[in-house]
Symmetry: C2
DNA sequence: GTCTATAGCCAGATAGAC
DNA sequence: GTCTATCTGGCTATAGAC
């Protein structure tokens, strides 16, 4: 593994746990097992290092969302596939959702760059498809944007607010992940039940 | 308004926008229109000032949740009342959800204090009630904890991830709040549709 | 109680040897 | 490319006048 890769991985870990302003260059250097000066040699400054990490994190999530949303499956199948594959992914990367949400709220300048990203999750096609299936009588009358929000909310929130959730419903780490496993099909079942005619 | 109140309000605003590590004592002082030294005179240090703000924020949310969850209404009515009053509240305080979630993720030491808070949202009674209504055949077979998560997710997430959401479904500030208004009844309708027998 | 001035620290960034 | 040593700025916190 090259030094640059070691730094990147360390930065990935520290930024996701502490956020941009909470992270320390020293800690990243220690984590990478190299010297602080190397960070600046390889990535110029903290902001650029952060941006590399943030964009990489985002780029991992976006394409698989688009792949599902823009396939030619039915709306119901897209919902099933999305919840299953998204939850599977974040179970492996539990720091990702809180990280992205936190930094988008704190660094509005990143939002714009994300919006112009080539692989930006784009729900345009899915929204049109929902409207079509409503017209065909497959799905109840509903605001497609609310439906999208429902899907994102139920899927992402438990991970974004993991600490809060564990405290609220009083479960430990193990029970949390069991609940998330169950959630892979729970969510699609709930939503489809609610919107099918 | 006393100086202490001016400081508190300014701190409230700055902490919610920047988070603990992003906030600057100087900015809080400027916002309050007083000198930095007064912050330390009134609140000793940054951590104590933050804790005062955080606990106040939390204390605003918790009681009304409990009041609804522990009333003697039906599960369906509790869902209707919760989504309506929670969304009404956070429309007025849109910085609250991301703030609480971010700081709970970043300062695990606060979690414990929150868990011991006298007004902590406690879903025990509601969970028992859900189980009872399942047994009575009013509600479908479902894991009560998943149902709670569904309610919290659909209600809180759009505010917690406001910036992300606006970017994803491409709406502006105004459209966002219109969507949230509609969401007050949309959520309960969706959930009740999904779980009623 | 409120201010100015400053101490003291810590983090990001750089210089320069190897 | 990698290190040690150091600079510089900014931030929390305090001392002390009024």
């Amino acid at each position: 593994m090259t030094t640059e890769e070691k730094i990147f991985e360390a930065a990935h870990k520290v930024f996701q746990q502490k956020g941009f302003s909470g992270a320390r260059m020293q800690e990243i250097a220690d984590e990478a097992g190299i010297n602080k000066a190397m960070l600046h040699y390889c990535f110029k400054n903290k902001e650029l290092l952060f941006e590399a990490v943030f964009m990489k994190a985002f780029a991992q999530l976006a394409p698989q969302i688009n792949e599902i949303f823009n396939s030619d499956a039915s709306v119901f199948d897209k919902i099933r596939r999305f919840t299953d594959s998204y939850i599977s992914f974040v179970i492996e990367n539990p720091f990702l959702p809180p990280f992205i949400i936190q930094e988008m709220n704190n660094n509005p300048e990143f939002v714009e760059r994300f919006l112009n990203h080539k692989n930006r999750p784009n729900p345009t096609i899915l929204i049109a498809q929902i409207e079509k299936e409503i017209a065909e009588g497959i799905i109840k009358e509903i605001n497609p944007k609310q439906l999208l929000l429902d899907i994102f909310s139920m899927t992402i929130f438990p991970f974004a607010a993991q600490v809060l959730v564990k405290g609220m419903i009083q479960i430990n780490e193990k029970e949390f992940f069991e609940l998330m496993e169950q959630r892979k099909f729970h969510i699609s079942e709930q939503i489809i039940n609610a919107i099918k005619k």
